[in-house]
Amino acid sequence: MSQQKKEPVSKSVVVKKLNATRAASIYQKKWFFEMKARVENEGLDFAILNADVPMEIFRAMDIPFVVNQWWAAICGAKRMTRKYFDLMQQNGYRPDLNSYDAQALAESFDPDDHKLDEEGHPMGPWGGLPKPTICITRLTGDVQNKIYGLLAENYQADLYVMENTVARTTPLNWYELTADRWEELYDSDRLDLAVEELKELIRFLEQKTGRSFEMKKLERVMHLINEQESYYKKTRDLIAECHPVPVTVVDTINAVMQAQWQRGTEWGVQHAKGLYEEIKTLADKGEAAVPGEKLRMMWLGRGMWQDFAFYQRFEEKYGAVFMWSMYLAMGADAYIRNHVEQDPLRALAARYIGMEDFIHMPPWNSSWFVQQALQNDIDGVVYMIPDNDIQAVEGSYFIKKNLEAAGIPVLAFHADPVNPKKWNAETMTGMVEEFIEKRVIPAQKAKN
C-alpha cells in the first residue's frame, strides 16, 4: 500500500526509539565483547580498518575487525573525547586535528585503557580495544597515512595501505548506476586497479593470518549485503513517501549505522528486515514521529554523536522533523551491487572505490542531495561542515547552490562533530531556529 500523502489517523506519541535501534545497540555491544574475548583468548589477529576499506574481505576470511569510525562513535558515546584530546596533546599531537579519525590513536596512548577504576569499572571504552595486529586504511586523505602509521607503531601492528584514485568520469545520476551499471559509472582502469589492489590485500591477509580466502565466501557476503541494503532502500523509500514520517533520524541513524558495520552477516540482514517491518507497521498505522509534522528537514554531514537530542529540539516548537540523513540513504543507493556471481571482486571494487566520492565529491554529492531532497519532500536543509578536516570539505558552495536552485533553503554552519569543546548547543539551536523562521517557513508558504 502506498503511503503517498497519507494523513495521520490518530494523534500518536512521538516515536523516540525503535526496537531496531535498541536491538542494534544491544547487539553491537554483545558482538564486541564476544569478538574481543575471542581475539584475546585465542590470540587471533585483529584488524582496525578505516571506514572505506573493503571490510567484505575480512568478513569472508573471518578475520576479526572493527571500523575506526564506528569505534570513534563508541568512544564519543562513552565520553572519552575530552580524555583523548588531552592524551593527544600530552604526546605532542595537535588535539584539534582530525579528531574523529584519531580517537583510536588517542586510545592507543592511554596507559589505563585496559584497566579498571577503583570501583571495578573499565577505564577504556568497553574495556578498550583488543590489541590490533593489522591497521589498514585507504589513502583517501593525506592524514590517513599519518594516523594509521602511528596507530600501527603504537600497537606494533602491521600497517597496510590501499591507494585511491580520482574519478574522471562523473555521471550525475550515479545513484541510478550503482546497482547494475557500475561499468558505466566508473572509469574501467580505476576498477581494474582496485581489483588488483584487492588481490594484493587478500595475499597480504593470507600471509599474515594463515587464513585462506575463498571466492564463494565473498560471494555469499556480497549477497547478504545486497539483501541488507535492499531493506534500507525499501525503508528509505517508505519514509520518503510517508506524510507524516513515522520515524526521525534519531531512530534511523543509529539503527542503520550500527548495523552497517555488521554488513555481510545474517544478523545484518535480519536487523535491516526488522527495521523495515517495524517502520512499515508504524507507517501503516499512520504513526507520526512528530504529531502535527509541518516541516521536513534534511541533515547533511556527519551524525551529531555528542548531542543527538539536537535533532529533536525543533519538533515541538515548529513541527520540524529531521527525517533524512545520509546514513540510511547511502545504504539505499550506494551499496547494492547485483550480479555479484559474475565477478565478486570487481563488484566489491565497484562498491568501495566510490564510497567517499558519493558523499564528498562534487558533483556526485550535490546531485544526489537534490534528488534525495526532492524524493523526500524536504523543506529545509541543515548542513554541518566540519571545520578541521579537509577530507570532509566537499564543495559546500555547490551543494548549497544546487539545493537552493531546486527551491530548498540551506543553513550551512561549521562545527566539529566529536569535539564537545567546540560545540555550543544554545548557539546552534538559535541558528537553526532563526533559519526555520526566516527561511524554511516562508519558503514552504511560498511553495504551497
Binding site: 604526546n91 605532542g92 595537535r94 597515512n145 599519518k146 589492489e197 578536516d389
Partner: protein, 389 residues
C-alpha cells in the same frame, strides 16, 4: 640583508631575481610569440612532458595583496590560506590571460579539492574565466602495481598534451626534455652544494630566488643562469652564524627567510617544493621515456603530504644531516597541517642528535600577519648562537 650586494652585483643573479620578482613576464612574452603556456598547481606536474609538448610550464602562485572575492564565495576556510589565494588567481581571469591551460597534480588533498572545485565550477558556471584544466592522479605508495599505474596516468596526461598542442609527442622528445630537466636539476644541486658544505656561500633567500625563478622561465635559460651564479658564488663571502634547516609550508616569497636571516641564522636547506625538494632525483635516461619520468616523481624524497610519519622522520634526519644544520625551523600555515602529524617524532629524533628546533604552527598567511613571530625567531636565534658559538 638576506640578499647581499655580492649577489645583486651578479648579472646572472639579477636576471634570476628579475624573473622571480616579475613572475608573469616570461609567460606573457612566450604567449605574445604565439606559444602555449601551462600553469601548474601541485608539485608533481612533470615539466618534462610539458616541455616535450612545446609549452612553457609555470607555477601558480598566490598574490597576498589580492582580495579573495571569488575564493570566499567558492572555497571553505578549511583550505590552506595560501592555496585559497592561488585559487583566486585561477578563477578571476589571471590565468585565463596568462596561460592556455591549468594542470593540477594530486600532490596534496587540498589541491585535489581545488581540481574538483574547478571542474565543477566550469560545469555549472561555464562563464567563469578559467582555462581548460587537466589533472594528474599519481599514486605515491611505492609498490610495483602503483609504479605501473603511474605510467598509465602519465600516458593519459601525454594524450591530453597532444590534444592541446595538436602534436604527437615522441619518446625522443620526452627524452630530450628529460635531459633538459636533469641538467637543470643537476645545476641546482651544484648551487645547493654551496649551502651545504663547510663554507656556506649562498643564503637561504638567495637560494629561494635562484630556485624559484626556474618555476617561471625556460629551463635552458634557467640552467645557464644557475651555472653562472654557482660559479660566481664560489667567491662570495662565507656566511657565518648558526645553520638551520627549514621544513613546512612552501614559502613563495622571501618574507619569512629574510626574517630568519635578519636574526643571524643561516638557512642551509629546506624540504619544500619552492626549495630543494624541487630538484631532488633525476629521470633515469636508460629507462623507457615515460617510465623514466614517472619514476622520477614516484621515487623522489618523501613529501610531508604523501608519506608515513616514519618516512618523514628519516627524510628530515637525512636532509638535516646532509646540510649540516644545527637547528630546524618547523613552520605550518593554518589548515595546512598534515606535516604537524610528523613533528612530534621528528622533534624527538632531532633532539636525540642534539639538534635544536622551534615550531610555528597554525600560522597566518601571509607571513606578515603573524604578530610576535620575529621576536620568537630572535629568541631562537639567540639560543642557537649560545649553543653554537
Amino acid at each position: 640583508m638576506s640578499i647581499r650586494d655580492c649577489a645583486l652585483q651578479s648579472r646572472a643573479f639579477s636576471a634570476l631575481k628579475q624573473v622571480y620578482d616579475s613572475r608573469d613576464a616570461v609567460a606573457a612574452a612566450w604567449k605574445a610569440q604565439g606559444k602555449k603556456v601551462v600553469a601548474k598547481l601541485g608539485c608533481d606536474v612533470p615539466d618534462e612532458l610539458v616541455i616535450a609538448a612545446g609549452m612553457l610550464p609555470i607555477q601558480i602562485y598566490a598574490d597576498p595583496k589580492k582580495t579573495l572575492q571569488y575564493t570566499n564565495q567558492y572555497l571553505e576556510h578549511a583550505f590552506d590560506p595560501q592555496v585559497r589565494a592561488q585559487f583566486e588567481r585561477m578563477v578571476d581571469g589571471t590565468y585565463q590571460n596568462l596561460a592556455d591551460y591549468i594542470v593540477i597534480s594530486n600532490s596534496t588533498d587540498i589541491v585535489i579539492r581545488v581540481f574538483l572545485y574547478l571542474r565543477e565550477l566550469k560545469r555549472v558556471e561555464p562563464q567563469m574565466p578559467i582555462p581548460p584544466v587537466a589533472f594528474i592522479d599519481w599514486l605515491f605508495t611505492r609498490h610495483q602495481l602503483h609504479q605501473n599505474r603511474n605510467q598509465f596516468v602519465l600516458n593519459l596526461f601525454k594524450q591530453q598534451l597532444e590534444a592541446w598542442s595538436d602534436h604527437v609527442i615522441t619518446d625522443e622528445e620526452i627524452r630530450q626534455a628529460s635531459i633538459l630537466c636533469n641538467e637543470n636539476r643537476q645545476a641546482l644541486r651544484q648551487m645547493a652544494a654551496l649551502r651545504h658544505g663547510s663554507e656556506v656561500r649562498i643564503s637561504g633567500s638567495e637560494a629561494l630566488v635562484i630556485i624559484g625563478a626556474g618555476l617561471f622561465m625556460e629551463k635552458t635559460k634557467h640552467t645557464a643562469l644557475v651555472r653562472q651564479v654557482t660559479q660566481e658564488a664560489q667567491n662570495w663571502p662565507v656566511l657565518t652564524g648558526p645553520r638551520v634547516f627549514y621544513t613546512g609550508a612552501n614559502q613563495e616569497d622571501l618574507t619569512l627567510y629574510e626574517m630568519i636571516e635578519k636574526n643571524g641564522l643561516v638557512i642551509v636547506g629546506e624540504d619544500t617544493d619552492w626549495g630543494e625538494r624541487s630538484f631532488d632525483h633525476d629521470c633515469n635516461l636508460e629507462d623507457p621515456a615515460i617510465r623514466a619520468v614517472a619514476d622520477r616523481y614516484h621515487f623522489r624524497e618523501f613529501s610531508a603530504k604523501k608519506s608515513l610519519v616514519s618516512q618523514r622522520v628519516e627524510a628530515l634526519d637525512r636532509e638535516v644531516g646532509a646540510c649540516g644544520a644545527k637547528g630546524v625551523i618547523f613552520y605550518t600555515n593554518q589548515y595546512d597541517e598534515v606535516a604537524t602529524w610528523d613533528m612530534p617524532k621528528q622533534r624527538k629524533s632531532l633532539e636525540a642528535k642534539g639538534i635544536r628546533h622551534i615550531t610555528f604552527g597554525k600560522m597566518n598567511w601571509p607571513v606578515e600577519k603573524n604578530r610576535g613571530l620575529e621576536q620568537q625567531l630572535a629568541v631562537f636565534a639567540a639560543e642557537m648562537k649560545g649553543a653554537v658559538l
